[in-house]
């Protein structure tokens, strides 16, 4: 059926603007941002792994960088992205099947609390605080 088009312009930036919006929109934006971050991470990971083909010295060079405290922070961010994207993804799956619709906001808050807990535990382990 040929309907007149809505907006003639594609406004991709609207995928990333949660200001003044409800929790559902924040969840949506977080999922997109973490999703893009994870895709970027995947490429970086593969690029790093390719160092293996350049022999032990380049690999060892990378590992010593990877052990620095600054770099470990990136690992914490990575874990955060995985937890946020994964847990919220479960929420999106449930909602998309019509489950939990009345509690979509509470579900988001509860899962993000779990994600936060996960990040704290991970950071603790990574930095050896405990």
């Amino acid at each position: 059926m040929a309907h007149s088009a809505y907006s003639p312009r594609r406004q991709v930036w609207k995928w990333f603007n949660p200001l003044g919006r409800g929790l559902g929109m924040w969840a949506y934006v977080l999922n997109r941002v973490t999703g893009l971050a994870l895709v970027l991470y995947l490429y970086l990971h593969l690029a790093v792994l390719s160092l293996l083909s350049h022999g032990p010295s380049s690999w060892d060079g990378f590992i010593s960088l990877a052990r620095s405290r600054a770099f470990l922070a990136l690992d914490v961010i990575l874990i955060a992205a995985v937890l946020i994207h994964g847990l919220n993804g479960k929420r999106v799956t449930l909602l998309g099947l019509g489950i939990g619709m009345r509690v979509q906001k509470q579900l988001f808050l509860a899962l993000m609390a779990i994600a936060l807990l996960g990040v704290v535990v991970t950071a603790t382990k990574i930095y050896g605080w405990w």
Binding site: S4, S7, K14, W15, L19, G20, R21, G22, M25, Y28
Partner: protein, 237 residues
């Protein structure tokens, strides 16, 4: 109170600017009253839509302080607290006609396709309590949806996909299936939206339900349609 309105001004193809209109309004004024005053006394070329002034026609929908609302039932003091300006912009995701007026043709086309009648019979438990008046087989009521387009404006999927059926029309299909009760028509309507640009294009941002001034909950209705579609698929339908 003296309210500084910062209103979007533009015509299609021309670059936009925002005009400042300072209007004197009573404490109890609605945002639409302020816009109407600006039009009446300051600039008659300001284009804006309005009709019923009590939130039933849906024509005045705009963005106030960046958020979709009906200005006729939004008090000025609820969105402006004495500091800064009161920003008014047209709805997003619709072609611009001029200033605060957008072309809602796409919305109404899709609402027509949903086959949701604008009034429906009142089911048990819906009417205010009391017996049915004599001589009346059926009580009737206007639909919850007022066809304002606010949900369409807030939807991030609508921002990039002009062919998406949209929250308003998908919710309308959901309502139409309930109102009618006819299983054959229900199956047919489900088929219309069980498509790439129908219920499956939604990404669950839930913003449509958040901004709907009528509490029509389009997001829930879309997911409920998905449940119906999956159920139908499972039964081999």
């Amino acid at each position: 109170m003296r309210v500084p309105l910062r209103v979007f001004r533009a015509r299609p193809g021309q670059s936009a600017h925002r005009d400042l209109f300072v209007v004197e309004v009573p404490e109890a004024a609605y945002v639409l009253d302020a816009v109407e005053l600006a039009w009446a006394h300051l600039d008659r070329s300001l284009m804006f839509r309005h009709a019923c002034h009590h939130g039933s026609c849906g024509s005045c929908a705009v963005r106030i302080q960046g958020r979709e609302k009906l200005p006729c039932i939004t008090l000025v003091k609820d969105v402006w607290h004495g500091k800064g300006e009161l920003r008014i912009d047209p709805l997003s995701n619709f072609p611009l006609v001029g200033d605060l007026v957008v072309d809602v043709g796409g919305l109404f086309d899709r609402l027509s396709a949903s086959e949701m009648a604008i009034t429906h019979a009142v089911g048990p438990g819906m009417a205010p309590a009391g017996e049915r008046p004599e001589g009346m087989e059926q009580l009737t009521r206007f639909q919850t949806c007022i066809e304002c387009g606010i949900c369409v404006s807030a939807c991030p999927t609508m921002a990039t996909n002009p062919h998406f059926f949209g929250p308003a029309a998908l919710a309308a299909v959901h309502s139409a299936r309930i109102d009618d009760g006819d299983p054959e028509r229900g199956r047919r309507l489900l088929h219309v939206v069980d498509t790439e640009h129908g219920i499956w294009r939604c990404h669950g941002a839930w913003e449509c339900s958040e901004v709907c001034p009528q509490g029509n909950e389009p997001a829930w209705r879309i997911m409920d349609l998905r449940r119906a579609a999956l159920g139908s698929m499972a039964r081999g339908g």
